[in-house]
């Protein structure tokens, strides 16, 4: 149901520890605007990782990485200025995170 998306990962904002990675942990996700926010819907069958993410919900940095044909890496940084809306549907293994901030930069 979910279309293939660019590399997506979540780091702890304090100390930069990698918490979830779409390549390493092999999950699909969707990203959509939601009024003036951004909503990530993540299919992840790892309740242990989800639990840690929910524990650190006020300190999450979310990244989407896009590579263009010229080798330029565009990074999109998503985060919430306060505390993101976050929920985990255990019956469907779907984690949703909604954040209010986005910044782009190239590497």
């Amino acid at each position: 149901m979910m279309t293939k998306q660019p590399h997506f990962y979540i780091r702890h904002a304090i100390g930069s520890r990698l918490l979830l990675d779409s390549i390493q942990h092999q999950f699909g996700y969707a990203l959509e605007p939601h009024s003036d926010k951004w909503k990530f819907t993540i299919e992840v069958n790892r309740p242990d990782l989800v639990e840690e993410i929910m524990d650190l919900k006020a300190e999450l940095n979310l990244f989407v990485i896009e590579n263009d044909l010229d080798g330029i890496v565009q990074k999109w940084w998503y985060y919430d200025s306060g505390e993101p809306a976050i929920a985990f549907d255990q019956t469907k293994n779907v984690l949703t995170i909604m954040v209010d901030s986005k910044k782009g930069y190239t590497v």
């Binding site: 904002a13 304090i14 100390g15 930069s16 200025s81 901030s101 930069y105 190239t106």
Partner: protein, 234 residues
């Protein structure tokens, strides 16, 4: 209590262009029992090869202090800040609501060695800002020289949004400096070079650190010429 953390207890990693030692949990090193000491959350001792560095990356809600020990470090950030940091200078960046920056060794011949410290800020959502200050290296001879503080105001002291003061010192062999600590505050001490004896009992050598609580009078004696950092923390 004086709790000693020997240099070799630090987590180390060699990425080729970067050799780093973490005093606290950072990136791939995660120890839930070694996350922070008061508001001090990160102390990395980084050696970056010539013409290499950390590309653009973001931070938020953190006070970040960089101290170059050898070489040069070029900083650029999304607030428009761009400067080269050298020994005798100190940089404080308030990440606040969010900032993207890069740190690069601009030399094509000389390695840069710098300490980077992250402190939890006194409040979230601060406006991003950056400042670089030069301090008189001769003024830290046999004394504690404040270089970052929220309470000691001077043109050559960087302001930080946390209730702390960071001192640098170079003490000659057999000389002693003292620090009086207020009740319910902490001291973090890191030996950059040399050898120290704390209160006549605790020996520290190069890159060792100590996390000190409940000590009101700290006598710091240099057993050999020493360069160190002391941080007064809540």
């Amino acid at each position: 209590m004086i709790q000693v953390y020997p240099a070799e207890s630090r987590f180390t990693a060699n990425h080729g262009w970067l050799k780093t030692s973490h005093s606290f949990s950072f990136a791939d090193y995660y120890d839930p029992n070694n996350l922070q000491f008061g508001p001090l959350r990160v102390l990395n001792d980084d050696f970056v090869a010539p013409d290499n560095g950390f590309g653009a990356h973001p931070h938020r809600d953190m006070e970040i202090v960089s101290i170059v020990l050898k070489g040069q470090l070029k900083h650029q950030d999304s607030t428009g800040g761009a400067e080269v940091l050298r020994p005798g200078e100190i940089q404080r960046m308030t990440a606040g609501t969010g900032v993207v920056h890069s740190e690069f060794n601009p030399s094509d011949t000389e390695e840069v060695n710098f300490l980077q410290l992250w402190f939890m800020p006194e409040a979230k959502g601060l406006a991003p800002s950056y400042e670089q200050k030069a301090y008189d290296q001769a003024a830290m001879k046999n004394k504690l020289l404040p270089v970052v503080s929220n309470r000691i105001k001077s043109d050559d002291i960087a302001f930080i949004h946390q209730d702390l003061t960071l001192y640098l010192s170079e003490v000659e062999a057999k000389q002693t400096v003292s620090f009086q600590q207020a009740a319910n505050r902490k001291i973090f001490l890191f030996v950059i070079e040399g050898e120290l004896m704390l209160n006549g009992q605790t020996r520290l050598t190069r890159r060792d650190s100590a996390r000190i609580t409940g000590v009101s009078d700290l006598k710091i004696e240099a057993k050999a010429d020493a360069h160190f950092m002391l941080i007064d923390l809540p």
